[in-house]
Amino acid sequence: MNSPKKITIAVTGLNATDSPGPGVAVIRALREGFDHIRIIGLSYEALEPGLYLHDLVDKTYQIPYPSAGANTLLERITYIHQQEELGVLIPNFDAELYNFIRISSELLKLGIATFLPTHRQLEDRDKLNLDEFGRKHDLKVPESLVIHKEAGLKKAAEQLDYPIVVKGRYYDAYIAQNEHEASKAFQRLNAKWGLPVIIQKFIKGTEINIAALGDGKGGTISIVPMRKLTITDKGKAWAGITLEDESLLQLARHFSEVTHWRGGFELEVMKDPGGDLYIMEVNPRFPAWIYLTAAAGQNQPAALAKMAMGEEVAPFDTYAVGKMFIRYAWDHVTDVSEFQQISAFGEL
């Protein structure tokens, strides 16, 4: 009897730090979802913890930063493919998605499958466009204004009323109770992330995250909602629990229906005291807590890999409610020779 063919999957996002990329969690789920699998890590920096975890990652290659452009990325992936015969590639960073989507048809010609949204889908759910996105698709989002000058702050605050949320173009957010705090937040965000800055109405409520997988045709293969139980000072979940709430499942289904989202996504939701659900952000990839979906019975990374390879995957209909994750820090010990290997040769 022939043994099943081994599948090789490349995964990015190995930075399992205090603000973790999803890669290590994706790999953990993939290893549970496939009996015969080889994992190729794709890293940007030599100190991403995941690339030293050899029980999870078989081999790692460094890849160029997104700013190097899509052609440089394609060249590097082509080289890696020549060494490793990649079957599937799962990118896990927002900033790299544009390039990976751009080269996805070239990758497919090489024999590397991906399961990604379109550039249009990526653009529509961008923070800058979220307000319009909500109106267009009948999804509740907090009223928000995009400002390009600090002078616009006062007018925006008058319209939205304090407290307001001042958000960076790519990352970070501050709650401002008054003009002084808003101005300080604006300056910080401008210095770090540049303009524009987004001013959002503050919604009081319970923060809930939903990890889901869209089939690209309007259907949703998997939905798992989670409430953060412990949050780090960077706002990241350090512990969480799966929830049973039909309204959250309906929200994710509605999102897939109206966007025809293809691939993993995360909805960051605020449930206000009246039960209304506001989408605060849409992340166009799996979250760092994605392993919880596998632990709860809906292995989203494995399902995505199967769909990328053209398999029909039936939508999951149940998951374990009350399944918890508690993240922990662990000092992994390695030798300088490994660090030298990845630093000098870009491979480990």
């Binding site: 319970t206 139980l229 969480g240 629990i241 929830l243 049973e244």
Partner: protein, 79 residues
């Protein structure tokens, strides 16, 4: 006044609301009352059961029961 149907309880007094992720630890008396509610007993029925079982003044029991029901309501555990 009913306990929401999806609320999970255990014999040691742990109460879990799967819709919100909230959990609570009830003392022995509160746990007993919550378990009566879970079995869909009415408040008058529960009051009677407790008066028969424990040596307690009705006024005291009513005050404690009202207090607990208020806490359960605030914790979003009642329909």
């Amino acid at each position: 006044m009913k306990l929401k149907p999806n609320i999970a309880t255990s014999e040691n007094g742990f109460i879990f609301n799967p819709a919100t992720g909230d959990s609570f630890m009830a003392n022995v008396m509160a746990s007993e009352i919550v378990n009566h509610l879970k079995k869909e007993k009415s408040i008058p029925e529960i009051r009677l059961l407790l008066l028969e079982k424990y040596d307690v003044e009705q006024q005291q029991l009513d005050r404690d029961l009202d207090d607990l029901l208020q806490q359960l309501k605030e914790a979003n555990l009642l329909d």
